[in-house]
Symmetry: C2
């Protein structure tokens, strides 16, 4: 099919004007109840309930058959026992329904009798030109009309991902985890047995949707491998396609056959085919989501040469191992960076890559280091470890009670000396004059960095300018960083910093880092992968970067960004 | 050293009566401030501040030197520039200090000059018999006197773990992650360069502490490998020792040398040595914590034969792959289990291992299945997937707004029919007569399970009895499950179930599962490893099990439990 064909063909699925839930019920313990619940209040189109016994379902009129609905129905969502699906599909054909999501299970995955039933359903659907999702699926989502046609109310939101999953549970978990991290979808299809619309059809479709930036596919087996590979290869030149395919072991192959009824096939053949198609293969759903967010937020690195900055030696050691064992090159530091770091950091710094200031409590050099690294042509990417560790340690200190209160008193005595200056700075901050604000911030930064960083004046000026640029975008001026900054100047002006003021100042660190990271990525067009320092799940930060909870996950994403770039280059080479 | 020797020798470290912080300061931006903060309000003993300029620190008297403190000092925590440490150590010797935690960095890891300084410090300490932790460390914790001697106020709590870490950051992250999951420590030592007390000394010490159930060690390099192996081997026959040792790659080996100054050595030699010592090696800090919690909460499996139960096919497929690729045997189901499941589950169930009821919405058979599996001699362990998925889906349904309210109305109409019976049951529940309560619960369960499970009367009776036993322990009678149950009977009695009532009933699922899992583990003495269905970090549940966020992590823990059991058996064999 050419582009317009598939887009036109699947339109009733992804842009239905009206939906009927066949099997909708008042019984809270049945899937027919939760399927209707899932759509109610979300889907922006006409919604009908079909129930062959009750005249009312959830206080809306229920029709005994889809044929009784007094309006056109684009999409039927079918959630009734398998035995009754072919009959209902026949009614859908008579009604002129254009597409169907068959949630019902009990077909090909149960053996020959189930397969016969499925064949019958599909014969009816095919004859009528009905596009079928499933059977044995969890449902589907499409962003434009907020079509949330799931067997239970799965939380989902609109965004740049597309997910096609042969497993409803793995797919549902991916959706929930993505939403928890703050990323949404254009389409999510739990395709189940994919008896009607094939996995490669969905891939082709989302390949044409410009709002989709990354395609994720979970497959257990393919009917037509070569066609899948062909379609994926077309898409993967335009946007990345990530594939999760279990079945490396005999045990999983058996499980696949009883789950989706698919033949898993030889894993090494799949592996080679994915490579050829430019699909990036991952081993777990967490890797899949990590990589998707990496692809959304980072430029592709030109090569394998990485530098690591770390607020702690052992983090750096773990990261060096994680990078090198994935084929990344933890390079020797460029000469100029070495010289500069020797000036900036205390003598105990690591003198190499990973760059570790070894407990230096002045954060300024640690914020200047990335630019010095990224400026070098010898470096393709940066891993910036310990995102959140400054504010984290600050938070721990602020929570240390009595000692902290007494520490604040001493700090306030120090602030008294600069209160006059702080007052005039505060006036500028509140003036709304962005150019003046930028100047004030540059000045304040130069003073701050100058007092803590043993570097030459040029370096201090460069860092101050960079940070000031990153901090004075419109978004930053409206955000939490500026609230913290005003608080800081207010405290300095009045000489009265309290615990909540200290916390809000500590809270400035992360938005400031977000702004800097975004700025570095934009300026140098190189990936700046961040890591945090606990295993708690982060959210996608302002500007798009996502702090991975450990070095392994960060390195794994970076290695695959390199892999995808290499595929794109070889594909381009081939075309010449 | 024999047992009493090491325990006696390290007593001043782990049971100090008094602590002096040398380098304590009012300056909120210095480590000396946060180190004192970390101890204040926590340490249960005498605490002194030493500062050679200020007479008062945090409103307490500060002494110019440790020698000026008018009381004995057991332990000195030293947080001053490296150049001044040997002088201070000399004063500690004169004062009769017995142990020192040297947080200061800038010694062997910086090169020959630093090594010379360190040698000088150690010569003084050794001559005076001062036991030294560090230098270049983050501090230490000991539960008995709540000694929280860290360079910043690290949140930590008492519990059954011991952690010895050559990396302060990796160690600190492990501590925070453990506390987030709800597990605490007897000891945590960030041993840094381990110039005084060696890593193997700590291992030996914690080996003798009966409150320590699992030992975790992060090392970058060893001075005396054979001695380490000897000590670990002694301990690992009594309790598990988990080792995290980066340095597989050249890049990490270089990073290690600049971080801890250690020679990393050949990774394969380490690997062989760890095996010989019975240490269980892991690759990441997350694996380390996963395994530690697994060892705390699960019996060791007798062999590699595992059965998986899953509420979703694709979860099962991923889990089969994860198990089989780690050397676990995803066995064919025992005949009796097959027969029973054919009766219990709908015909579309997976008919194999993984056991998947394929969307069966009746949870009762899914709760009976584990017992049928665990009863079989052919099964060594069980992976129970989807912990939290019942209440999770229930929660999603409850959050579906308008549709949900209407569904509840219908449900209440149904409840009206049983209101009289519910009233009398509620009376019993509130009677406090546990024997009667158990009978009522058994009756209610038999009715419930009988109505939803297509199995014979014996099976229903067995499940009801099991669940009733598990649910009527004193802990359960006092917990959230019972609150939910009363709520359920109240609603049934009044025919008025509202959304918060529904949620509290859904909230009963997890405590009920906790009780069942604990009961199964105790009855069959086989591991029952649980997984959840999102990547969010869980907490250790009532009864001790920890729901891992995915199949890979669960399988990885189980495979290592087998590995440890095999070590214990071979060690026993050897001794004969």
């Amino acid at each position: 099919m050419t582009k317009p064909e598939i887009v036109e063909a699947l339109k009733p699925l992804f842009y239905p004007g009206s939906v009927a839930v066949i099997g909708a019920t008042n019984n809270l313990t049945k899937w027919g109840f939760s399927t209707l619940s899932s759509l109610l209040g979300n889907f922006q189109g006409d919604l009908f309930a079909v129930n062959n016994r009750d005249p009312m379902v959830l206080e809306r009129k229920a029709y005994p058959s889809v044929k009784d609905i007094p309006a056109p129905v684009d999409l039927a969502v079918i959630v009734i026992p398998a035995e009754r699906v072919s009959g209902v599909m026949r009614e859908c054909a008579e009604k002129g329904v254009k597409a169907a999501v068959v949630i019902s299970a009990g077909f090909v995955e149960t053996g020959p009798a189930g397969k016969a039933m499925q064949d019958e359903v599909m014969a009816v659907a095919d004859a009528a030109g009905i596009k079928v999702v499933g059977p044995n699926c969890m449902g589907m989502y499409s962003a434009p009309h907020n079509l949330t046609a799931f067997m239970f109310p799965l939380p989902i939101m609109a965004g740049p991902l597309a997910l096609i999953s042969q497993g409803g549970n793995v797919g549902g978990a991916l959706v929930m985890d993505a939403v928890t991290r703050g990323v949404g979808f254009q389409q999510y299809v739990s395709c189940g047995a994919a008896a009607g619309v094939k996995i490669e059809d969905y891939v082709e479709y989302v390949g044409h949707d410009d709002l989709v930036k990354v395609v994720m596919v979970y497959i257990e087996g393919l009917e037509d491998g070569p066609r899948f590979i062909e379609k994926v290869r077309e898409v993967s030149r335009k946007k990345p396609v990530i594939v999760l395919k279990p079945g490396r072991t005999e045990a999983a192959a058996r499980a696949i056959s009883s789950h989706s009824g698919a033949l898993s096939g030889s894993d090494s053949i799949y592996d080679a085919a994915f490579k050829k198609a430019g699909a990036i293969r991952v081993e777990t759903s967490i890797e899949m989501l990590d990589l998707a967010i990496g692809l959304l937020s980072q430029p592709l690195p030109k090569g394998r040469r990485v530098v690591i900055t770390t607020p702690g030696g052992s983090y750096g050691v773990m990261c060096a191992d994680a990078c090198a064992s994935r084929g990344l090159e933890v390079i020797d530091l460029p000469r100029r960076a070495m010289d500069e770091f020797n000036r900036m950091f205390p003598p105990r710094w690591s003198h190499g890559n990973p760059v570790d200031p070894a407990g230096d409590r002045n954060f300024a050099p640690y914020l200047r280091a990335p630019e010095i690294i990224l400026e070098s042509d010898e470096v393709d990417s940066l891993i910036f470890m310990g995102f959140g560790s400054f504010s984290g340690i600050g938070g721990m200190i602020a929570s240390s009670g009595d000692a902290f209160s007494k520490g604040l008193e001493k700090l306030n005595q120090g602030l008294a000396g600069v209160s006059a200056m702080a007052s005039s700075m505060l006036e500028v901050l509140e003036s709304g004059d962005n150019e003046k604000i930028k100047q004030i911030i540059k000045m304040a930064l130069r003073m701050t960095f100058g007092s803590v960083m043993a570097s030459d004046g040029n370096e201090i000026e460069r860092l101050s300018d960079t940070v000031a640029e990153a901090l004075t975008t419109d978004a930053m001026l409206a955000g939490s960083f500026f609230q913290g900054l005003k608080r800081l100047f207010e405290s300095a002006a009045s000489g009265k910093l309290d615990a909540s003021g200290f916390s809000s100042i500590m809270g400035m660190m992360e938005p400031m880092l977000d702004a800097l990271i975004y700025y570095w990525i934009g300026k140098y067009e190189k990936p700046v992968i961040t890591t945090t320092f606990t295993e708690e799940t982060s959210v996608v930060r302002e500007g798009g970067h996502f702090p991975y909870p450990n070095a392994e996950r960060a390195a794994s994403v970076l290695a695959r960004l390199v892999e995808y770039r290499e595929f794109l280059e070889s594909a381009e080479e081939e075309e010449k």
